[in-house]
């Protein structure tokens, strides 16, 4: 068992060496900035086993070597999820002390690994004289006062304090410290009023920096991209942060041989960054009509539709704006299409990345449309203007004028434009309204004054009523008169009859039969005609009977009347018949008087 284990270890060691051969790195690490009077460490590390004695240190000009080289080697093997990895590390450490302020360079160190030489890059180091360096004599102070007010600082650094509206500014919140920081307890970012802020991705590596003549360790806490949205001077208020710092105190009185005499204190500090102001400049005058607030530098590409289309098929025009600037605030350029084109909602797709210099990427506008009617059309150029803050000028990009010919698909009539109304065969759209045109022609005569309730009106009304009365009276009188003629005739009827009967009597006395009967008939017919206002030509025995019946004369009398007529007619043309004329005569007088009695009543 032991042997097997031994073999395994050897195998592992061999494998790790093979792995190490693949990538040998030889690096130098030292702070870029040191203060005069402070010592610092320079470490040369190699991740493969070097040949013994092959390390050649540089000359360290301008520095005193306080210690070194101290060599430390490390070897580790890891098993992660059944995979094994091994690493080897060898570090040569020197402790140096700068001799004077200035810029120095640590030269290249060289080393040999398996016969191959490696060397480090020269490393520049700046040595400065720190102001007010207070070292020593702090032993009797409280832990809080051990950290000077300017030992921990918080700064909001801006890439620029002057910008145009919409131009991006990078704001980094940096913690400067000369002591070790345990923890950030709270961070309150101010409201960035007047800005559109976007979070940036940033590297969280510490670095050293000189500020106010002191050297600090710097840590980036936050980084934002700010786009001013209004002009004028905008002040960003202070950023507040609570940090906990660690203070190590060497306590000589209570020296513990095992734990050492070190006391560790924690100090909480409330840090405030100074408010910063940004001057936001308004765009200069003379903006082109198509300028809508785009700031940065852009380029325009346009994907035109087919030049030949069939009516009622859809197509699209695609416009892509690529560049760096406030892409998110760009509005789609206006596309003007001929009236017979039906335009649909513009589709926007963007591919935007936020980088330290601003947002960059591209935005694509897709303008779908349907050409409704056939014809040759020209699409006017699309214009896009932006403001270039680096040159302080407006730039206008435009697509090319584009001709399109739409072929008739046989279903739609050609668009007809008449007086602002465009019709597409079926429905007509009201495009706009305006007042109707004035009335022309000759000057119209002033309308007549109102006649209502004027003398003329009353005159007309009176005239009408008067006319009515006059007409009524006149007509009525005429009617009454004509009625009286009839009445008189009726009144006269029996008189006429009597006269005629007398004539008949005279004929009877002369024994003239023919004339007697003739007079009799005439008297009889005439009587009825006059009495009832019926023309003689319309009279028959039937009508006589009817008329008499209507007037309430008994049928017996009517019959008698008709019988007299019949007898008279017979006797008139039959001379041989020996009729008694006297009898006929008296009978007739009797009947007439009877009728007279009945009718009169």
């Amino acid at each position: 068992m032991m042997r097997i284990r031994h073999l395994m270890l050897v195998a592992i060691a061999l494998l790790s060496t093979v792995a190490a051969w693949a990538q040998v790195s030889f690096t130098v690490d030292a702070p870029a900035l040191v203060a005069l009077g402070n010592n610092f460490r320079v470490e040369f590390s190699v991740d493969a086993e070097p040949e013994k004695g092959s390390f050649e240190a540089p000359s360290f000009e301008g520095f005193d070597v306080l210690a070194g080289p101290s060599i430390s080697t490390g070897h580790s093997i890891q098993f992660i999820n059944g995979r094994q990895s091994a690493s080897y590390n060898c570090t040569y450490t020197y402790v140096l002390m700068p001799q004077a302020a200035g810029n120095y360079t640590i030269g290249s160190a060289a080393i040999k690994v398996d016969g191959t030489s490696y060397s480090t890059k020269p490393l520049p180091i700046e040595v400065i004289v720190e102001k007010g360096t207070a070292t020593g004599g702090k032993t009797q102070q409280t832990p809080d006062s051990r950290i000077a007010q300017d030992d921990i600082l918080l700064r909001l650094k801006l890439s620029s304090t002057e910008a145009y509206k919409g131009e991006a500014i990078r704001a980094s919140l940096v913690l400067y410290t000369r002591v070790s920081i345990d923890n950030i307890e709270s961070l309150t970012m101010p409201p960035f009023d007047g800005f559109w802020s976007q979070q940036l991705e940033f590297e969280n590596s510490p670095s050293r920096e000189e500020y106010n003549g002191k050297i600090y360790e710097t840590y980036k806490i936050n980084e934002l991209l700010l786009s001013p949205q209004q002009s004028g001077t905008i002040v960003i208020p202070e950023v507040q942060m609570d940090v906990r710092a660690q203070v190590i105190v060497q306590d000589n009185k209570r020296y513990d041989p095992f734990f050492g005499g070190r006391q560790v204190y924690h100090v909480t500090r409330n840090l405030k960054s100074a408010p910063v102001s940004i001057k936001v400049k308004e765009f200069p005058a003379g903006a082109p009509a198509s300028f809508q607030g785009a700031v940065g530098s852009f380029s325009l590409t346009c994907d035109m539709p087919e030049t030949e289309l069939v009516a009622n098929t859809s197509d699209r025009l695609e416009l892509t704006i690529t560049g760096n600037g406030n892409l998110k605030f760009i509005t789609a350029p206006r596309l003007t299409l001929p009236e017979s084109f039906e335009v649909y909602d513009t589709k926007v797709t963007d591919n935007i990345m936020i980088t330290a210099t601003g947002t960059s990427g591209s935005i694509t506008y897709s303008y779908p449309f349907v050409a409704r009617s056939a014809g040759e059309f020209t699409i006017e150029p699309l214009e896009f203007s932006y403001f270039d803050p680096t040159t302080g000028e407006y730039r206008t990009l435009a697509t090319e004028r584009f001709n399109i010919s739409v072929e008739d698909d046989g279903s739609t009539p050609t668009a007809t434009t008449t007086g602002g109304m465009v019709s597409y065969g079926s429905a007509m759209r009201q495009l706009d309204r305006d007042i109707r045109f004035i009335h022309t022609g000759t000057l119209p005569t002033k309308g007549a004054a109102t006649i209502l309730l004027t003398p003329l009106y009353w005159l007309l009304i009176t005239l009408l009523v008067a006319l009515f009365i006059v007409a009524y009276v006149a007509l009525r009188k005429r009617m009454i008169n004509s009625r009286n003629v009839v009445a008189r005739r009726m009144k006269r009827a029996d008189k006429v009859a009597v006269q005629r009967l007398r004539m008949a009597e005279k004929s009877m006395k002369e024994l003239n039969r023919h004339s007697f009967y003739e007079e009799m008939l005439r008297a009889m017919w005439g009587y009825i005609s006059d009495k009832f206002n019926i023309p003689v030509s319309n009279l028959t025995k039937e009508t006589i009977r009817e008329e008499l019946y209507r007037r309430g004369v008994s049928s017996a009398i009517a019959e008698q009347f008709c019988e007299i007529i019949s007898r008279s007619e017979e006797a008139q043309y039959a001379p041989s018949v020996d009729g008694d004329m006297n009898e006929v005569y008296t009978e007739a007088i009797e009947v007439i008087s009877k009728i007279e009695e009945v009718v009169k009543r």
Partner: protein, 275 residues
């Protein structure tokens, strides 16, 4: 015969009077006709300021018919729209108020003028006039019937109806046949009712045109309407030009007015003009 003679004399006298009147205004008519042609020419050439001047001159001559007011209103409206380029806002010179005023005047003479009503509606859309309290259905019906023609139209219609009705009455009174009498009786009855209705419409139309107490705001800026005739009192409303109001009474340089929606207030008389 005596009565007819007298009537003839009266008619003759009236004819004489009207012809005398015509002779007096013959000169004014020729000037007005020239102005009319000039106004139309200027309007067609889009010189609306000149068109306004020409049509206004016809009005001052007293020769204005409904068409003159209609054209004047149109010229004012166009002038107000044209001035946008120089004053940056439409109707800066109170043209909208003048346009509304003159459309109202045209409609007052001829309530049946459809073009004027259309244009008035369009002009009123540019004002901040409030929605009127809607009239009852019967009132609306009566008004739409009344505005079908002017006072004279209704008067003539009523006289014709009366004449026919009287004729039919005679036929009814003197007729012999029953059917004829029945027909004439009912027709005459309907015509008498028609006569009364048309007379009422004529009177209503006459009242609407003669007793028109409406006024239009002509001031070019928003005009304050105060709660009492005192410029220190509260401003209750700010009607824009072209808002139509009813004038109730006047007090000093102030007029009490009634808005279409029933709100009352006081406005300076100089800022409104009666229709």
């Amino acid at each position: 015969m005596n009565i007819i003679d007298r009537l003839t004399v009266i008619v003759a006298l009236m004819v004489c009077l009207t012809t005398a009147n015509d002779a007096y205004s013959a000169d004014a008519t020729t000037t007005a006709a020239a102005c009319w042609d000039e106004g139309i020419e200027a309007y067609e050439a889009r010189d609306y300021a000149k068109a306004v001047e020409a049509f206004e001159h016809i009005v001052t001559l007293g020769e204005a018919s409904e068409d003159v007011y209609y054209n004047l209103a149109g010229a004012y409206f166009k002038l107000g729209q044209q001035n946008i380029s120089s004053t940056l806002r439409p109707f800066a010179g109170g043209e909208l108020g003048r346009a509304v005023l003159n459309y109202h005047r045209a409609l007052r003479i001829d309530p049946a003028m459809e073009d004027a009503r259309y244009n008035l509606d369009l002009a009123v859309d540019h004002t901040n006039d409030t929605e009127a309290v809607p009239d009852s259905f019967i009132t609306q019906l009566w008004h739409s019937l009344r505005d079908m023609t002017g006072t004279n139209g209704w008067t003539v219609a009523s006289i014709i109806m009366l004449a026919i009705a009287l004729m039919l009455t005679i036929v009814y009174l003197l007729g012999q046949r029953i059917v004829l009498r029945k027909v004439t009786f009912f027709t005459a009855l309907v015509l008498y009712i028609g006569f009364m209705l048309t007379t009422a419409l004529a009177i209503s139309s006459h009242m609407a045109t003669t007793n028109d107490t409406r006024a239009v705001v002509i001031c070019n800026d928003t005009t304050p309407v105060h709660a009492s005739p005192d410029s220190a009192s509260k401003i209750i409303r700010q009607p824009s030009q072209g808002v139509t109001l009813e004038v109730l009474r006047s007090h000093g340089e102030w007029s009490e007015i009634l808005f279409a929606d029933g709100e009352k207030g006081w406005i300076r008389t100089s800022q409104i003009e009666n229709i």
